[in-house]
Amino acid sequence: MSVDRRDFLKIGAVMAAGTIAPAISGAAGQDEEGASSKNLWGMVIDINKCDPECTACYDACRKENNVPHFPEPELDIHWIRKIKFKQRGVPNAEERSMPAMCFHCEHPPCAHVCPVAATFKRADGIVLIDKHRCIGCRYCMVACPYKARSFVSKHVEHQPGENPESPIRMHGVVEKCDLCVHRIDQGKQPACVEACKKTGGGGMVFGDLNDPKSEVSGIVRSSRATQIRADLGLNPRVFYLGV
């Protein structure tokens, strides 16, 4: 019996350590970090300028961020996608389209549910994933109302012609639009916005919502701009005109 008990105690000690460790390291998990809270990045998309067949933003994003294309539609990775829609219950309703991506919510449920705080919000409002910390549990995908997240379910290899400014995508973690944070930090616009201006309809406007003189804050102030599923109270920082 005494031998039994000693074995038990050993296992017990190991388990106790496992219980206490997370509690000790529990100081982490803050909501906002990095960058400067002087800026608040956001976007307005005028869908009246969005042609259903145009894929300028979509193509530019894939190229800029080395987003691979998987042939199976249910496994493919989408940082941005084009959505087509029709009014329900209206015969011969016109088909319209808009791009959708991560909306960089003020209250991001994806970050709230992430057990290891791999998803977090920067002080300038950009919601990011630390892909070196993400454990791939996919709770964030279940919690995001906008389907903005994709799990990388295959290994991705380096490709000729890939963008050296972006890493290649990492298997086993969840990824999504980071608003081209690497470009923003260089003072540039996100790749989708630039491409939309160059070869698309020019309906995407990016800027600082904190700056009262910026074009985005002007449009948002005009209160013509709407948010998708505003009822959820997440306050997305991507606004739409004409939905």
Binding site: M1, D4, R5, F8, G12, M15, A16, G18, T19, P22, A23, S25, A27, A28, G29, F70, E74, L75, D76, H78, R81, K82, I83, K84, F85, K86, Q87, R88, A100, P109, H112, V113, C114, P115, V116, A117, A118, R133, C134, I135, G136, C137, R138, Y139, M141, V142, Y146, K147, R149, S150, F151, S153, K154, H171, G172, V173, I228, R229, L232, V243
Partner: protein
């Protein structure tokens, strides 16, 4: 109350080694299929970007439930004064620990990056139900273990104190597990304040069903005496728990279905969801709850051991369906970006997704049962878990 005497099994027979070899081989399927998933990527499973949680999560919450149920049953004798359950206290506590270990395996091996197992120890997100549950599960394992240890000491006080702690934490663990889903407010089929309590109810019913089957099999296989009246009593207990499950199920679905914004979700689950609707009505309601309730509450079948074993098996399968119905259909339903517009996209927006269990997930799930059975077989050989005989208290006097 006569003292119950526990004795290890010899475990030298050829049958024992055969049994352990088979159980070990089945158990090995779990880590092997997890390795296969990790090396190839999750595209080898049925899980997709439309349905990111599949069978591993179903198994995890199933095993957690059965574990919490076993632990509460184990505490019946020391905490609730049900002395007739004393002979089973050790077996039930052991099972509770093995089941939670298997559940944690189910969760961790399903991560895209199980190699990052240490990350949760260093990063914590107090708003995340997963994060809170990690602490709950670990504390639960620890308390369950100490509680089992107390069973080996003749201290009434420790048995009771740790038993009470175990019951509280089992309830906490299960509420937390229900909350993982209940708190997801964007999916109508998840979001419900009733999920935590109804999880506990199903945990108790399935935990009892599992105990009935395991006790019967264990006493049979070891040739020890088990008074079947004890099993019949547990059967009635299972019946009461099943009625509570039915009640929660009824309230939850009626409340959900009443709101127009949920019409689609409610009718998907209850009316036109194809295999999910079939699982709900036939798998869960009919086979998992109604038939076993009729069996245990009918005076003649309720006192017949074969019938009781049948009812327990049905209930165990029914709760597995229940777990499946909780996890999967909520993800299969498309997320609505607009309530008034029909949406399509290359990312399958606006479409019902499809999920079917892949062979590797079958191997994974069956392997997890193997882990529990293998661990059980090993433990009863090295520690005195099984009583020499289990009689109804009045019969002993």
């Amino acid at each position: 109350m006569a003292n119950v005497r526990f004795r290890r099994i010899e475990g030298n027979s050829a049958q024992y080694y055969m049994f352990m070899a088979v159980a070990g081989a089945v158990a090995a399927m779990a880590p092997l299929s997890a390795l296969y998933m990790f090396v190839n990527g999750h595209h080898v499973t049925g899980m997709t970007n439309q349905v990111p949680w599949g069978m591993p999560i179903v198994m995890a919450i199933y095993l957690i439930g059965a574990s919490a149920g076993s632990l509460v049953l184990s505490a019946m004798s020391s905490v609730f004064g049900k002395t007739e359950y004393q002979p089973f206290a050790r077996i039930a506590a052991l099972l509770a620990i093995l089941l939670i270990v298997a559940a944690l395996m189910a969760i961790i091996m399903d991560w895209g990056r199980p190699d990052r197992i240490l990350v949760p120890f260093f990063h914590f997100q107090p708003r995340s139900m997963f994060s809170l549950n990690a602490i709950l599960y670990n504390s639960y394992m620890l308390v369950g273990f100490l509680y089992l240890l107390a069973q080996f000491k003749e201290s009434k006080f420790w048995k009771k104190a740790l038993g009470i702690a175990a019951v509280f934490i089992a309830v906490g663990v299960h509420s937390g597990t229900g909350a993982i889903f209940g708190f997801v407010f964007v999916r109508e089929l998840y979001n419900s304040p009733l999920l935590p309590p109804s999880f506990i109810a199903a945990a108790l019913s399935s935990g009892t069903a599992l105990m009935i089957l395991i006790l019967y099999a264990t006493f049979r296989a070891t040739g020890r005496l088990l008074d079947e009246k004890l099993l019949h009593g547990m059967g009635r207990l299972m019946g009461v728990f099943m009625l509570v499950v039915i009640y929660f199920l009824f309230i939850e679905n009626v409340t959900r279905g009443y709101a127009p914004k949920n019409y689609e979700a409610a009718s998907f689950l209850l009316l036109h969801g194809g295999k999910y609707t079939a699982m709900f009505w036939i798998g869960l309601v009919l086979c998992g709850l109604v038939i076993p309730s009729l069996i245990v509450f009918n005076p003649s079948t309720g006192k017949s051991t074969p019938w009781l074993l049948f009812a327990s098996a049905l209930q165990l399968a029914g709760v597995l369906f229940e777990r499946y119905i909780i996890v999967i259909p909520a993800q299969v339903m498309p997320l609505e970006l607009f309530s008034d517009k029909q949406v399509t996209s290359v990312f399958l927006d606006g479409r019902y997704a499809n999920y079917s269990i892949s062979p590797v997930e079958y191997a994974y799930s069956i392997g997890l049962f193997g882990v529990v059975i293998f661990g059980f077989g090993l433990a009863v050989k090295f520690w005195a878990m099984i009583p020499e005989e289990a009689r109804f208290p009045e019969d002993v006097k």
